[in-house]
Symmetry: C2
Subunit: 221 residues, 2 copies
DNA sequence: AAATATTTTTAGACTAATCTAAAAAATATT
DNA sequence: AATATTTTTTAGATTAGTCTAAAAATATTT
């Protein structure tokens, strides 16, 4: 079965929206995710349904079918592999790669994906710490917690981010809060949920809730 | 200025068709190149003309404008760089890369192209021996002649091919007539323009006109 | 130069993807 | 339960790209 780039973008959006919630995804949330009108979503959703990529009942939202889920995961796999390529091989920074990978993920060639994967040494995570599904769609699940959830004295290593916007990532670069950074919670202010952290056993500084809720850590025992 | 993939495909086709002939390109030849109807070509040609990418006069054919030529060359550059990537880094063979590069050439990011170029060490030729234009659109011109033009006793090295079809390239692989192969003309048969050649100073065999007219050599002095 | 053939353009229609505005259904509020 | 609000769908239009069939222009042949 073949898909247009637009159809693929809808599949990816539905996957993203339903990844953590089991319930059907609403027309409105898709239109929000893709910046299109709800009317357009209804149209597209009917086409994807006729292609049996999603289950769709009027007014009830949509869920991915097994083939739909498989295709969505393949797109995520491609996107994240290309991001690794761009950062590891072409020296792009983690805040620059999203838009380019968004285009590259639509290149159609299974052989290409598998060779790229091998060329990159079968990476398990992309430059933002997100897991790369394997050829069968299986993710490596790693237990990671928002930095915001840690208590005074807790320690951990930065392993991912929730936000992917260039401005957020560039801010993290300035702070030194990149993947692999070691963090210890020195203080937590109830009032605004900001924290004072020690970075790599050296500098101490304060970070806002806006920052700490969007960073994932692997907690040290 | 932004272009759809279709517009880019037309620009590339017009470039290809006008590369060696100075005259305007006919609607019909474009429709032949792209496997579309002449009516579709007329439509698209009018749009590209309104975008000032081509000069177009009814019934007179089209030529690229300066910006049109620049964009076409940029596409050729991208296509050939990606082909080098696919062969050098991902171990694809020269007969497998065209279709994938056809997709990759539409990825929009100037930075990506320049970094890819650097990553590949600024290659001057693609896996078929075709020159890769530099960032300014300049080609390395190399004097190369069709194998079919050589006379008995002439020697040379294979530096390119005219045909890019997988079946032709696979046939060349079987014969050992790949880029860099040394060829000496042992015999030429007037009747069917076939030749007997010696390959790399070793094996001797006969090749048809269909083959020898589609191979380029750099003649040894 | 007139007749014929070929090429190119126009006309009109189709699909994919989108939109706005209005109607219908579902949900929330009084 | 009736009404109001929100969400979703339908209706109708638009743009890009395509097609076939017919008309117009150009080129070729006699």
């Amino acid at each position: 079965m073949e898909f247009t780039q637009t159809e693929e973008n809808y599949l990816k959006a539905i996957f993203k929206l339903s990844e953590h919630e089991g319930k059907p995804v609403s027309t409105n949330s898709i239109s929000g995710e893709l910046n299109t009108s709800a009317a357009s979503v209804t149209d597209m959703v009917q086409r994807l349904s006729s292609k049996e990529m999603i289950h769709y009942e009027k007014y009830k939202g949509v869920t991915l079918t097994k083939p739909g889920l498989k295709h969505a995961k393949a797109l995520v796999r491609k996107h994240r592999l290309w991001e690794v390529f761009l950062v590891e091989k072409l020296q792009f920074t983690w805040d620059e790669v999203h838009d380019i990978a968004e285009q590259l993920e639509h290149i159609q060639s299974d052989e290409l994906v598998e060779r790229l994967d091998a060329f990159l040494d079968h990476p398990r995570f992309d430059p933002h710490g997100d897991p790369i599904p394997d050829a069968d769609g299986k993710f490596t699940v790693s237990q990671r917690v928002p930095l915001a959830d840690l208590k005074i004295g807790d320690k951990g290593v930065v392993v991912g981010v929730q936000e992917h916007s260039p401005s957020f990532l560039q801010h993290l670069d300035k702070l030194g809060l990149v993947l692999g950074a070691e963090v210890e919670i020195i203080e937590v202010f109830e009032f605004d949920a900001s924290q004072v952290i020690r970075l790599n056993g050296k500098s101490e500084f304060s970070i806002s809730k806006q920052v700490n809720k969007n960073i994932f850590l692997k907690k040290s025992p």
